[in-house]
């Protein structure tokens, strides 16, 4: 072995050794090893694509009623059959992806807009402010979520936007509680003490040290909250209290199917499958993200 190759190997080794590892890089590596999480990512990507390309994927408009072709079983013309007024079930399910994703994302956005400031305030200010915010959370928790959402929808009126608003007002509780708990535990860590010793101001510690460390759990909570919101909208629409008619909500399709399902099984099967697949996709993705970011759990 010549000295030059030995030197080259030494350099290669040295380059290999101090490879920088970041939280995000580690998380991505753990995520990529998790088959279920990748499957979830695949399902969610497929849903997002379906929602974006609905105009090209759906063979018919979602609201094209045709009474002469009502209640047809699945055929080559209507892959998932037609409903009680002759609308193509497949097209309605494709467009329904948009509604479900809009609800999931919209509700979580509202939950974050209300939950993050209140959670920050409760977790950082402490004292009477914390006490008041937590009692507020407790009061909201004591009312059943469905009833609170219904009360709010009754006050605001129905429609997609108001349903999202009502569900968002119900959903901020978890965001607020989670962020507060994160901050309370982070506040006691050594790196915060170190920052304080170095003379960092309270605002600087909050924004540069505490919040970045609380972001990963928040992302996970949002991913897990999305299917919960989608489920809630489906439930409300199932009861006939969610979005209004021509808009294709999967929950509404299931609700309408109840009276026809005993003969026309396709009306029950396909929308429920769509709901189940969406819930599974987001849950796998959320669980995968949680495991990827969770450094305490060594698998």
């Amino acid at each position: 072995m010549s000295s030059s190759t030995a030197a080259a190997m030494g350099v290669a080794q040295m380059q290999g050794l101090p490879k920088q590892r970041t939280l995000l890089g580690d998380a991505a590596r753990r995520f990529a090893r998790n088959k279920l999480a990748l499957f979830g990512l695949f399902l969610v990507s497929a849903l997002v694509l379906t929602a974006l390309l609905a105009d090209f994927i759906a063979p018919y408009p979602y609201d094209a009623a045709n009474p002469t072709r009502a209640l047809q079983f699945p055929s080559s013309e209507h892959w998932m059959g037609t409903d009680e007024v002759g609308r193509d079930v497949y097209s309605r399910i494709v467009y329904g992806t948009r509604i479900s994703l809009a609800v999931g994302l919209g509700v979580m956005a509202i939950a974050l807009v209300i939950g993050i400031p209140l959670g920050l305030l409760a977790g950082l200010a402490g004292g009477p402010i914390d006490y008041i915010i937590m009692r507020l959370v407790e009061v909201f928790t004591a009312v059943p979520a469905l009833m609170l959402a219904l009360l709010l929808i009754s006050v605001f009126g129905g429609g997609l936007f108001n349903v999202i608003l009502a569900l968002g007002i119900v959903a901020w509780l978890d965001t607020c509680r989670l962020l507060r708990a994160q901050l309370l535990s982070l506040r006691e860590r050594d790196f915060v003490l170190a920052a304080r010793t170095l003379g960092a101001s309270g605002t600087r510690i909050a924004l540069h040290h505490l919040l970045p460390n609380a972001i990963a759990p928040l992302i996970v909570a949002v991913t897990i909250g999305i299917p919960v919101a989608i489920f809630a909208e489906a439930g409300l629409s199932f009861l006939g209290l969610g979005v209004n008619d021509p808009i294709p909500s999967w929950g509404k399709m299931v609700g309408n199917a109840l009276s026809y399902m005993r003969v026309y099984w396709h009306l029950g099967v396909f929308p429920t499958l769509a709901i189940a697949i969406t819930m599974l996709g987001f849950t796998f993705l959320g669980d995968g993200l949680r495991d990827a970011f969770d450094t305490s759990m060594n698998r």
Partner: protein, 310 residues
Amino acid sequence: MARYLLGRLGGILVVFFIVSVVVFLLMHAIPGGPYNEDKVPLSAEAKANYMRKYGLDRPLVEQYLLYMGNALRGDFGVPFQSPTETVTGLIARTWPVSASLGLAALLVALPLGLLLGMVAASRQNTWIDYTASTISTLGLTVPNFVVAVWLVLLFAVQFKWLPTGGWGQWHHYIMPVAALALAPMALTARYTRTSILEVSRSDYIRTARSKGLSDRQIMLRHTLRNAMIPLLTILAPQIPNLITGTIFIESIFRVPGLGKFFVTSILGRDYPMIMALLLLVAVVWSLVYLITDILYVVVDPRVRLGKSKT
């Protein structure tokens, strides 16, 4: 202990007072009232009579105080949607139906979930474990009304083994209980597995093993008892939801339970019923949490109520 319980009860009363005020205001903020023309065709005079009869023409503060005063004396008023009976009577008639469904679901879910979790934990990372995990993930994520629709399609429409719905005979219980039990069962299984795996790494299990106890003895006497503690926290919040009735399951299987009144009372602006249902749920929640806290002390001698922090 007694001081702790009193403090907790006081806290519950305060929260309930605020909840009742908030809901009372929110409920009256809903546009429209119980006797609007689109709901009941009434002459203006008859409407005014009804409004006077139920005190709806008085200021809100007075209405609230009147309601709470009556409620404290056990009079919860008359449901507007069913004026021939009292709110108490209506709840006494329909709640047992919902509660029996919920309790049956719990009785099915708990042992099955424990078994599934124990089997999965003792065969960690084998196909048995993966099957159990898949079942519990499905049970946790697929909404119960979706499961209910599939059960109807499969067992009532396809095989015709069971009636599509109804109430009164034992076989009417099977599908609603199955649909209701799936999620708590999955939850129990998942947490039993995790906490058994966690507990089995602890020192006292190693001690038990090194003194020569059999796997079975270790599981039953040491692991399971300690693994049950986190399970209490997870399962407790499920109980109020299960026993106060779920509108989805009850409407799919045509069960005459309490569930539908959570919706109809809000849609019909049935103020006495809304208040009564909220009171009921709040009381059930508080009781369940209180009992859970007391159970902790029973199950785990390391916990002392009211001593560590107040």
